[in-house]
Symmetry: C3
Subunit: 328 residues, 3 copies
Amino acid sequence: MKKLLLASTALIGFAGVAAAEVAIEGTAEMGFTGGDLKETQFHNSYTINFKMSGETDTGLSFGATYRLDADGSSEENQNPVGDNGTVWISGAFGKLTLGDTDGALDWALTETAMGTAITDEGTTHVGYSGNGDNYYDDQVLRYEYAFGDFGVALSVEQDDGNSATSTGDGDPMIGLGGKYKAELGGVDLSFGLGYQTGDTLRYAFQGVNFLDAIGVQYVSVDVLGVSAKAAMDNGFSAVVNYVTYDYGSSVPDLEHYGLGLGYEMGALLVHANWGKWEIEDFDSFDSFGLIANYDLGGGAILAAGYASDVSTDDGDQDQFSLGLSLSF
Amino acid sequence: MKKLLLASTALIGFAGVAAAEVAIEGTAEMGFTGGDLKETQFHNSYTINFKMSGETDTGLSFGATYRLDADGSSEENQNPVGDNGTVWISGAFGKLTLGDTDGALDWALTETAMGTAITDEGTTHVGYSGNGDNYYDDQVLRYEYAFGDFGVALSVEQDDGNSATSTGDGDPMIGLGGKYKAELGGVDLSFGLGYQTGDTLRYAFQGVNFLDAIGVQYVSVDVLGVSAKAAMDNGFSAVVNYVTYDYGSSVPDLEHYGLGLGYEMGALLVHANWGKWEIEDFDSFDSFGLIANYDLGGGAILAAGYASDVSTDDGDQDQFSLGLSLSF
Amino acid sequence: MKKLLLASTALIGFAGVAAAEVAIEGTAEMGFTGGDLKETQFHNSYTINFKMSGETDTGLSFGATYRLDADGSSEENQNPVGDNGTVWISGAFGKLTLGDTDGALDWALTETAMGTAITDEGTTHVGYSGNGDNYYDDQVLRYEYAFGDFGVALSVEQDDGNSATSTGDGDPMIGLGGKYKAELGGVDLSFGLGYQTGDTLRYAFQGVNFLDAIGVQYVSVDVLGVSAKAAMDNGFSAVVNYVTYDYGSSVPDLEHYGLGLGYEMGALLVHANWGKWEIEDFDSFDSFGLIANYDLGGGAILAAGYASDVSTDDGDQDQFSLGLSLSF
């Protein structure tokens, strides 16, 4: 994946100078997907990643990322979309990142999904949560600092008035997160704890913003989340993840429960995750995702995925995929 | 053209590791164009090609291509368009390619055009045919296999319901193609034979879809094509190309005849091609294209082009161009 | 900034071959901006530059540039915009450039701005002028030739009918420019003189085309400009810039005055510029920009900017920014 970077690093050693550079990585997918909501069909997709890095005279590292995504249908792929744009600077003081990056809670918590599928069945089923941001326009400033086995982060996402539906009057979303790693009798443990508080323009499932439907522009929200992961030497690993969203009176509170289990043996990874959204006094959605990956080496993974339900509509609408996930 | 690839390969030899990589190539054009349908004007254009490649542990090759096109007018060039997105894997079993690639008929047949022109006079005149696909959304899966002087391919383009005008009910377009190469008394011969059958959303000349006009959504079509090319040691070459399109009763059948002649001497290439579309019981269009190329070396070609007729309107609407075609 | 180019050059020396290549450079910005017309907010942006170059067998150099810009708000950055597309060829005869490049007047004159700011306060205040083109669709052909301390350029921007509001009937904008450099008692002097004449589709301030408002499609204009720059050994430099726009009777004539002062000491650059637009018998706008840059090395600059007025509305609407400007 980082081969041009590797190449440049080798060169830099050769030439005896350190230098700012742009490394290019890419991904591609090839296979088929189907399910209750779409015809069984071929899928091919591409991303091009630009990874920029440099170093100041005093030894501060800095860099930026920007990605072109062409990961939709054949016709959508004619209009590549910019994504994952971030700028960062790091040194003894920690690391400061600005852009389309994780808020402190999302940064601290471990998601339940493992492995990959060409149409993302492990992470797109209706009961799944990525602990994500996107309270306003996804422009997050995050400061992080690591000391020993601990890491902490502070983040802010501001209502800068640049979003289509924003007046600029919302309170900023402030986040605080912590991580801790330990080893206990051959088991690698990691814990995450995160808290975010502020206003948001969105109260959404599956990309639908329900605030529009009820004519409310902003709601305040307190988000509290915890996660724990255990990875055993024998290849088994497990993740639990719990997040509660405490809204003001306008909309129901939310809770999310997640559980992920994985097993790796040589080139094989099998994984299952289950998640559940509970909407206060109203309804709940739960579903699961299954992933099987076989690493062919050199950046190629044979990937199968199954999602039990990909829509909030009544009943279960499943989805599956099988194909190659390629990294360059 | 493949210089970063070359660079990376050299480095990889240096570092002693084989690795997945992204190579960047580019093209640019500079010159002027004019004709009956446009003012004589300057033309400049760009494409950026991302070529990804890797190898699995068992020696299968895999890769992907994606291209950004900015090859329109100055203002259009502000919105680059993604094109030529393909993913492939190959090995002893043959090669499997998915994406914006040739169907088996197009793969098998040799087009009549040779050389280049900055505004494509050799391939855009009204009587020209590229034997092209685009029956649905241009997402083609093609399997190909070569043995000795023979090559065969099988392809499918599915109606996956993702096109704007598609219900997803069309039969897939299935293609079968074969190639054969031989040398006969100092003449390199190559033959192509292709057959495709299925439904399509399009019955189009010059980018206009006549199915819309007559209120028909799908038509079935059987396409049969042959081509032959002869290239002589003295620099002369000739291509003949014939394709017949047998539609159901909704729309007239089509036939296309093409002839291309070329002569190469040192850095010089001169070329002419003629093509004719015959529309059953209705009308026909024929026209020719002329190309002169002088290879300046290093990736630069001085290119002149003339097309006798670029519109299906009555009479001949010609077009010409002169400029530099550059490859990086 | 030119690190992959450097890398490739090193490799080329290593491999002993000269070759066409695509070098990738990038820029990124990180910081905050605010002022009378916007909330104080974070700013992050990206550009990816593709620089293509090659050489013919007879030693002519050729190349092309194309840039993807994602330098707006977080949501705008999802749609990168193509910019700065140019193709060029150069040799003993001079250099010919076609595309989004400076006309001869803009090429000859030195702008008053120095240094950088993440939201461009030095160059976007209402009284500033970049001496720019954009008479039609920004597609300029420029020929330039240098001899000793002199340089001359000739340019043409044609009304090719490809702009949205163009009929193709406007006279081309023809430009002529000259530069001269000299050293006088430890002071580096440079002088520029430019003249352009033709029609234009635009009579604009701050991006608003006033021709639309008054129902006029084309106006003829004669533009005459001069600039002078003096750079002293002690780090001080000064630029004066004067351009007059003589329109036909349809719209008032314009005059622009500009003055820039700078001081560099080690890693520090401080700069101020002032500019004034005078609209004949009507009104005038003047404003200033302030820049402070500290070069952190390795491509990172700490940049502060202040613009006294960024709108033609009554009163002053100021703007400021502080952040990191990064080059890769």
